[in-house]
Symmetry: C2
Subunit: 200 residues, 2 copies
């Protein structure tokens, strides 16, 4: 028996332990925390989970998660529809929005190509992107993908497919360089070399 207090608490702990960042010990702590704050946190959290599970869905255009479809970003007339930022995941879209550096539209691939994990081009939302770019008159596609092997493989693949499907569209990538606030001493050699090469 992992906890004393009946199957209801046991089940709650087991489900909380599935969340990324929570293990069995922190799930027990979280369950007790919630049981002591029923009205303030536990019931609102249950309601928020139910509501989000019912209402949130992927946007049919870009793949972002929202309660409206198309999503608020795709509907926003103030955003520039001629620039599309391609991201692997909704988490990356959120990160980009927090930075406030981009006011165009998005396209969420839903992952990265990976020989190791068996992710093939048809598993990603690439066809939608290839159809969307010429149809919407997109002038620039920014490939904002991880600076990892899988990320760069995916970027290369998407760029090639875009060149074939939408001739004339400009395909760009995020710059490599020193993170703001980063110390040179702690930076890997590859990043430092890239930052030096792209100096201005």
């Amino acid at each position: 028996m992992a906890v004393a207090g009946g199957p209801e608490i046991e089940r709650l702990v087991q489900l909380l332990a599935k969340l990324p960042g929570l293990g069995p010990r922190s799930a027990r702590r979280a369950a007790l925390f919630l049981l002591k704050r029923r009205a303030l946190v536990m019931q609102p959290l249950a309601a928020a989970l139910t509501e989000a599970a019912e209402k949130v869905q992927p946007c049919r255009i870009c793949g972002n998660l929202d309660t409206v479809d198309p999503c608020a970003l795709c509907r926003d007339p103030r955003r520039d529809g001629t620039i599309v930022c391609v991201v692997a995941d909704v988490a990356d879209l959120w990160a980009m929005e927090r930075s406030g550096a981009f006011r165009g539209r998005y396209h969420v691939l839903g992952g990265l190509l990976s020989a190791l994990d068996g992710v093939r081009p048809e598993d990603l939302a690439i066809a939608g992107l290839l159809a969307r770019v010429p149809a919407d008159g997109v002038a620039e596609v920014i490939l904002a993908l991880n600076a990892t092997v899988d990320g760069q493989t995916t970027a290369h693949y998407v760029a090639e497919r875009l060149a074939a499907a939408a001739a004339g569209v400009r395909v760009t990538r995020l710059a490599h360089g020193v993170p703001v606030g980063g110390e040179l001493d702690y930076l890997d050699d590859g990043t430092l070399a890239a930052a030096m090469k792209a100096r201005r």
Copy 2:
């Protein structure tokens, strides 16, 4: 805006970020994790939260959290009612149950005396313990409280009150010593000295 995707996701992230062990970043990760596993995790978690919030309550005898009152531990006829283990919190009761080393009853104080945090004796479930020990014919009270200043202050206070309220009851404390699997080299001097003194 912390996340793109509407107030429902925003609210879910804010509530998840209140859980101990989750910050804003891991709360966003957890929200996305849940939104991608609606049927398998998100809806069951919402149901488990609602059910536990409705059914779980503190036991009127010992303070344990359970769906029945008195709790399953207080009802269990196989447990020895003449030994009561006093713990600060339900989390400590769970830890004790996981160890499997105790088959008596519990008493949850609901915290520890603390001059710094302004926790006074009347804030803890001490009166219930003092009434219960003579009434139930309890022969031994084990003070299983943290080996910290607050824990030991509380243990001292409870032991004194017990001596006055229930003369003849045996009051014991957990032994200090080397944790099983622990390396001497990493142990603090106080623990090592206590383990040496209590050698057998």
